[in-house]
C-alpha cells in the first residue's frame, strides 16, 4: 500500500495487513475471569506461548485520522486497518515476528500433493465477540463476500490465482475446502488478513446488496462483532475509539488464562505527527508508532525521565521513491505532459536522474542516519528476498550528465538543460506536505537536479488530491511516494510491478505493457506466483529487482528505519519491522504491576 500514514492503496494489503491481526502468542493470568475453565472443555482454544501477564488496565494510543469504515471487506485506509486488526481474525495468520504462518481460526490444514486443494480444520466451540458461535458457514459466507465483484473488496485480488478466483466448499460444520485453479506460491499465506465475518450479523445486509455500507462509523457498537482480541465499545468520530476486551477470545496463555490481558485499548484521533509526539512525550498516550527520525532525536533526550523507551528496529519494509508519469495519455487532454513524457520515457533520462540523486544526503538530512539508501524495491529488512548483487551506485553528476548527452540533451550557455528540440527541461514534483520527510526529500532532489541544468518545481498537494492525480486523472509530471510491502513474500508486490496492477503507480491499470522491460516484469511476476521452489522463485525475483534497478520505472531512494516507543511499564511488547509494528500482539501486552501506576 502507499503509505502516507493515511491511505493504504489496494493490493499490498492482502498479505500486508495480516500483520495487523493480533495473533501469535497469548497469555493471561488470573483464571478467575469469567468462564475460562468451563469453556476450555468444549472450546478448542489456542495456547499461546509467551510471558504470563497481569490482566487489567487500558492502553492509549493514537490514530492519525478517523477510520473510514470498520468493515473488513472494504477497508483500505491505514486507520481502519489498525483498528480492524484488533477486532477481527483470519484463518491462517502470518506471524509478524517470525514472518512465518501459524494457526489461527484454522486449527490445522492440509495441502494436496498437486498444491491445488486446501482442507482446513476449524477451531470448534469458539465464539464471536457477541457470543454467537463460529463455524464453517461463517467462513463460506466471508469468502463469498470477499470474492463478490460487486463488493470491490481489496482482498479479492489476492484470492485470485492466475486470474481465476479460488473456490470454497463446506465439508462439515468445522471443515472447509479451498480449490485453486493452479498451484500458488504464496500458498497458505493467502489466508492471512482475510478476516472472517459474522454471518449472523451481515448476511441480511449482504443479500440486500448493502454490505459495502455496513459497519460504518455510525453503526452501533453492539451490531459489530468479530473474532479479534478486542471488540468495539464506543466510537466518537474525530475524538476517540474505545475497544474493550473480547471476553470470548480464542487464545489463552500457557496457564490457561484467557487473553487479552488489557481491559481496554483507546485510539485517540490525533491529526498530526507533531501532536502525536507531544502527547506521547506528555504521557497521554502509551505507545507511539512510526516516529520520524527527528522526533526520535527529541524524544531520546527525555527518554529516561519520562518513563518511556524508544526502539530503532532498523530498516523496515517501506521505501520512498520518485516516479514519472509514464501513462499512455492519448485519451487524456494533457498536451504539456505528453510532450514532457518524451523525456520521461527515455531510460537514460530516468537513469541520469537516479545517478544525480545524493541518497546519502537524504539518509543524513532527512532521516538523521536512520535509513538505508536503496536502488531497487526490496529493502534490506527483507533478508529472504533482497538481491544483494544490485550495484549501489553513489551519486555521480558526471555520469548523469554523460547519459543525458548521449540521449540528445544539451546544456545551454547559461547552464540550462535543453532537449533535442531545444526545449528547456523543466518539470514539477508533487509531494504531500503532511509527510514532512517526503517534502524534504523533494527539496534535496530539486537541488541535485539543478546541477544537471534541470528546473524542478515542488508542488505541495494534499494527499487525497495527489492520489487522485496519480491514479485517476494522470494530471501530474512526477511525484514522490512511499510503498510498504505487507509481507516479506514477493506475491503482494504483483500489484505494483505488473502492468495491470492497481498500485502500478507510474501507469496504473496499463492495458498493455508499453515497453519490453514491462513485458518481462509482467511475465516474471506472474511466473513467480506459480513456482513453489524458493530458490527458483528467488532467481526470478532477483531478475525483477535487476529490471527495476536498470530501467527505473520508479527511482528507489531510501528505506527508513522503523522507530517506535512505548511506556516502560508495558510488558509483552515485541516491536517488529512489519506493520503493525507494536500492537500486532496486543492480546499479550500487559501493564507490569507497579504501585505507582495510575491506571
Amino acid at each position: 500500500m502507499l503509505s502516507d500514514g493515511v491511505l493504504t492503496r489496494v493490493i499490498a494489503q492482502r498479505v500486508a495487513w495480516a500483520l495487523l491481526l493480533a495473533t501469535l502468542s497469548p497469555a493471561l493470568s488470573l483464571g478467575a475471569r469469567e468462564s475460562a475453565s468451563q469453556a476450555a472443555s468444549t472450546e478448542e482454544v489456542l495456547i499461546a506461548p509467551g510471558e504470563i501477564g497481569t490482566p487489567g488496565g487500558r492502553l492509549v494510543t493514537s490514530l492519525r485520522a478517523d477510520p473510514k469504515t470498520l468493515n473488513p471487506a472494504t477497508a483500505v485506509d491505514l486507520p481502519s486497518k489498525q483498528v480492524l486488526g484488533l477486532l477481527s481474525a483470519d484463518l491462517i495468520h502470518i506471524n509478524s515476528f517470525t514472518q512465518g504462518t501459524e494457526s489461527a481460526l484454522a486449527k490445522s490444514w492440509k495441502i494436496s500433493p498437486d498444491g491445488k486443494h486446501y482442507t482446513l480444520e476449524l477451531r470448534r466451540g469458539i465464539l464471536f465477540s457477541d457470543g454467537h458461535p463460529f463455524d464453517a458457514d461463517d467462513v463460506v459466507f466471508s469468502f463469498q463476500v470477499y470474492l463478490d465483484e460487486k463488493v470491490h473488496s481489496p482482498q479479492r485480488d489476492l484470492l485470485e490465482v492466475g486470474g481465476k478466483p479460488i473456490q470454497v466448499r463446506k465439508l462439515g460444520p468445522y471443515q472447509v475446502a479451498f480449490d485453486l485453479p493452479q498451484p500458488y506460491a504464496a500458498a497458505e499465506r493467502m489466508f492471512d488478513s482475510v478476516s472472517i465475518l459474522p454471518r449472523h450479523l451481515l448476511e441480511e445486509t449482504y443479500k440486500t446488496g448493502k454490505i459495502s455500507q455496513a459497519w460504518n462509523p455510525a453503526t452501533k457498537a453492539a451490531e459489530i462483532a468479530g473474532l479479534g482480541p478486542f471488540r468495539l465499545k464506543q466510537y466518537s468520530p474525530g475524538q476517540q475509539i474505545v475497544l474493550e476486551r473480547n471476553p470470548h477470545y480464542w487464545k489463552m496463555d500457557s496457564r490457561k488464562n484467557r487473553l487479552p490481558y488489557l481491559d481496554e485499548i483507546v485510539f485517540l484521533i490525533v491529526p498530526t505527527q507533531d501532536a502525536e509526539v507531544i502527547r506521547f512525550q506528555a504521557g497521554e498516550t502509551d505507545v507511539l508508532d512510526n516516529i520520524s527520525a527527528e522526533d526520535y532525536q527529541v524524544l531520546e533526550r527525555s527518554q529516561g525521565e519520562r518513563g518511556y523507551r524508544l526502539n530503532d528496529l532498523g530498516p523496515g519494509f517501506e521505501y520512498d521513491f520518485l516516479f514519472f508519469n509514464l501513462n499512455d495519455l492519448n485519451s487524456k487532454q494533457l498536451p504539456e505532459i505528453s510532450r514532457k513524457q518524451e523525456w520521461f520515457r527515455r531510460d537514460e533520462f530516468r537513469q541520469a536522474i537516479s545517478d544525480a540523486i545524493d541518497r546519502d544526503a537524504i539518509v543524513r538530512l532527512v532521516y538523521q542516519g536512520r535509513a538505508t539508501p536503496i536502488w531497487d524495491q526490496v529493502t534490506p529488512a527483507n533478508k529472504l528476498w533482497v538481491n544483494t548483487a544490485i550495484p549501489r551506485q553513489p551519486q555521480s553528476l558526471e555520469k548523469a550528465a554523460a547519459l543525458l548527452k548521449s540521449a540528445g540533451f544539451n546544456r545551454r550557455a547559461d547552464g540550462t538543460l535543453v532537449d533535442a528540440h531545444g526545449m528547456p527541461v523543466e518539470f514539477s514534483i508533487l509531494t504531500n506536505p503532511s509527510n514532512a520527510q517526503r517534502t524534504k526529500i523533494a527539496t534535496i532532489l530539486q537541488d541535485d537536479l539543478t546541477h544537471l541544468g534541470m528546473q524542478v518545481h515542488l508542488v505541495p498537494l494534499e494527499f487525497q488530491s495527489l492520489i487522485a492525480r496519480v491514479f485517476d486523472s494522470f494530471n501530474f509530471e512526477a511525484s514522490i511516494l512511499g510503498l510498504v510491502s505487507g509481507d516479506a513474500d514477493p506475491n503482494p508486490e504483483i500489484n505494483v510491478w505488473t502492468s495491470s496492477g492497481g498500485t502500478h503507480v507510474w501507469a496504473p491499470n496499463e492495458v498493455h505493457p508499453l515497453t519490453p522491460w514491462q513485458s518481462e516484469l509482467d511475465r516474471l511476476m506472474q511466473l513467480q506466483t506459480t513456482i513453489l521452489d524458493y530458490k527458483k522463485r528467488k532467481q526470478i525475483y532477483d531478475r525483477v529487482q535487476e529490471l527495476v534497478a536498470q530501467y527505473n520505472p520508479v527511482i528507489c531512494l531510501v528505506s527508513p528505519n522503523i522507530l517506535v516507543g512505548a511506556k516502560d511499564s508495558l510488558s509483552g511488547i515485541k516491536p517488529v519491522t512489519m506493520r503493525n509494528h507494536i500492537l500486532w500482539n496486543a492480546e499479550q501486552v500487559f501493564w507490569r504491576p507497579t504501585p505507582a501506576r495510575k491506571k
Partner: protein, 345 residues
C-alpha cells in the same frame, strides 16, 4: 514635538530595514537556496576578536565547524580552533553557474573559500539562514507594503465615490463592502489556488498573494474614507467650490481626498503589518511562495515541526524580526495619529 520625534524615528528605522532587505544581494553572503549538506542545522557562528592564544585582532574572524558524529549520526558541532577565518569586507564575487537567485557582484562580507560563515545558523539543508532571512524579507515586507497600497487605493476610490455621491451608489458600494468584509479570505485563496495550474512560479504566487489580499482588504478602508468624505463634503469651502462650478472629479481630487490623507496614512500604518502577517500566514500554510524561494512565512513554517521548535532556537529569527517590525509600524501609526489630531485641533 515628541510625536514628531517618534514619527521620524520609527519611519527612519523602517526605511533602513527596507533598504537592507532590498539590497539582500549585497548584505547576504550566499545564495539563499544554496545547500551545504554537511552543515544541517548548524548553530549561528560566533564572531571572535580574541584568538585561542588570547591575542586581540581588530578584524573579526570565525572558526569553522567540526562535526562530531556517533554511530553514523550527526551529534553536534564544535568550533575548529586550529585556524582562524577572518572576515573580508566588500568582496567581489563571480556569479556561479546554476545560481538560482541573482545576487550582486559585491558582498558586504565573506570568508575565504572553502570556509563558510553562518551568522544566523543554517536550516535542515544547511542553507544560510541570514541569506534566507534577508531575501525572504523582500517577499514578506513588500507583499505587505504593496498589498496595503492596493487595498488603500481601492478603498479611497470606492469610499470617496460612495461618500461624495451618496444616494444609491453609496448604498450599493457599502453593501459591497459588507460582502467583502464577510468573505473568509483564506478560503477564497484556497479556491483561487485550486483554479490555477499546479505549478505557479515564485513571482506569480507573489502577485497572486498581493492580488487576493489587496482585493479582499479594500472594504474596511473604504468605509473609513467614506466617513471622512461625508463630513468633508459639508464644509463651506467645498460648497463654495461647487458654487463656482467646479466638477465633481476636481472637488474630489483637489479638496476631499487631501482631507482623507491623514486617515489613510494612519490606516496604512496598521494595514501593512496586518498584510505582512497575511503573507506569513499563507506561506506558513503552504499557499505562498514555494520552496526553495525563501519568505518569512515559509521560514517560520519550519517551526511547525516539533523537533525544530524544540531544538533550534535560531529558526525563530524571522518571528523576532516580525515582532520588531510590527512594533515599528504601530509606533508609526500612533505617531501619525497624534500628528493628525494636533493638526486638526
Amino acid at each position: 514635538m515628541i510625536a514628531n520625534k517618534k514619527l521620524w524615528w520609527s519611519a527612519g528605522a523602517l526605511i533602513s530595514i527596507h533598504i537592507v532587505v532590498l539590497s539582500a544581494g549585497f548584505f547576504a553572503p550566499y545564495d539563499p537556496t544554496e545547500q551545504n549538506r554537511d552543515f544541517s542545522f548548524a548553530p549561528p557562528m560566533h564572531l571572535h576578536f580574541v584568538d585561542a592564544a588570547g591575542k586581540f585582532h581588530l578584524r573579526p574572524f570565525v572558526y569553522q565547524y567540526l562535526t562530531h558524529s556517533g554511530d553514523g549520526r550527526l551529534q553536534g558541532y564544535e568550533e575548529d580552533r586550529s585556524r582562524m577565518w577572518p572576515l573580508r569586507f566588500f568582496v567581489r564575487e563571480e556569479r556561479r553557474a546554476h545560481e538560482r537567485t541573482p545576487g550582486w557582484a559585491w558582498h558586504l562580507f565573506a570568508v575565504d573559500s572553502p570556509g563558510r560563515i553562518f551568522l544566523l545558523g543554517t536550516d535542515d539543508y544547511g542553507r544560510d539562514q541570514l541569506s534566507r532571512f534577508l531575501y525572504g524579507g523582500q517577499i514578506s515586507l513588500f507583499a505587505g507594503l504593496l498589498a496595503a497600497a492596493l487595498s488603500l487605493g481601492l478603498g479611497m476610490v470606492m469610499g470617496g465615490v460612495a461618500g461624495y455621491f451618496g444616494s444609491w451608489l453609496d448604498s450599493v458600494l457599502m453593501r459591497g463592502t459588507e460582502i467583502f468584509m464577510a468573505l473568509p479570505w483564506i478560503y477564497l485563496l484556497f479556491a483561487v489556488r485550486a483554479f490555477l495550474p499546479l505549478h505557479v512560479g515564485a513571482r506569480q504566487s507573489f502577485f497572486l498573494l498581493l492580488g487576493v489580499i489587496g482585493v479582499t482588504g479594500w472594504a474596511r478602508p473604504a468605509r473609513l474614507i467614506r466617513g471622512v468624505v461625508l463630513s468633508a463634503k459639508q464644509r463651506d469651502y467645498i460648497q463654495a467650490a461647487r458654487g463656482f462650478g467646479a466638477s465633481s472629479v476636481y472637488i474630489l481630487w483637489r479638496h476631499i481626498l487631501p482631507e482623507t490623507s491623514a486617515v489613510a496614512l494612519t490606516q496604512a500604518g496598521l494595514l501593512v503589518p496586518q498584510y505582512i502577517l497575511a503573507e506569513v500566514t499563507l506561506s506558513f500554510l503552504g499557499l505562498g511562495v514555494a520552496e526553495p524561494v525563501p519568505s518569512w512565512g515559509n521560514m517560520l513554517a519550519e517551526l511547525q515541526k516539533y523537533y525544530v521548535l524544540e531544538s533550534y532556537w535560531w529558526m525563530f529569527a524571522a518571528g523576532l524580526a516580525l515582532v520588531l517590525i510590527f512594533l515599528l509600524y504601530h509606533r508609526l501609526a500612533d505617531a501619525l495619529q497624534l500628528r493628525l489630531a494636533s493638526a486638526t485641533s
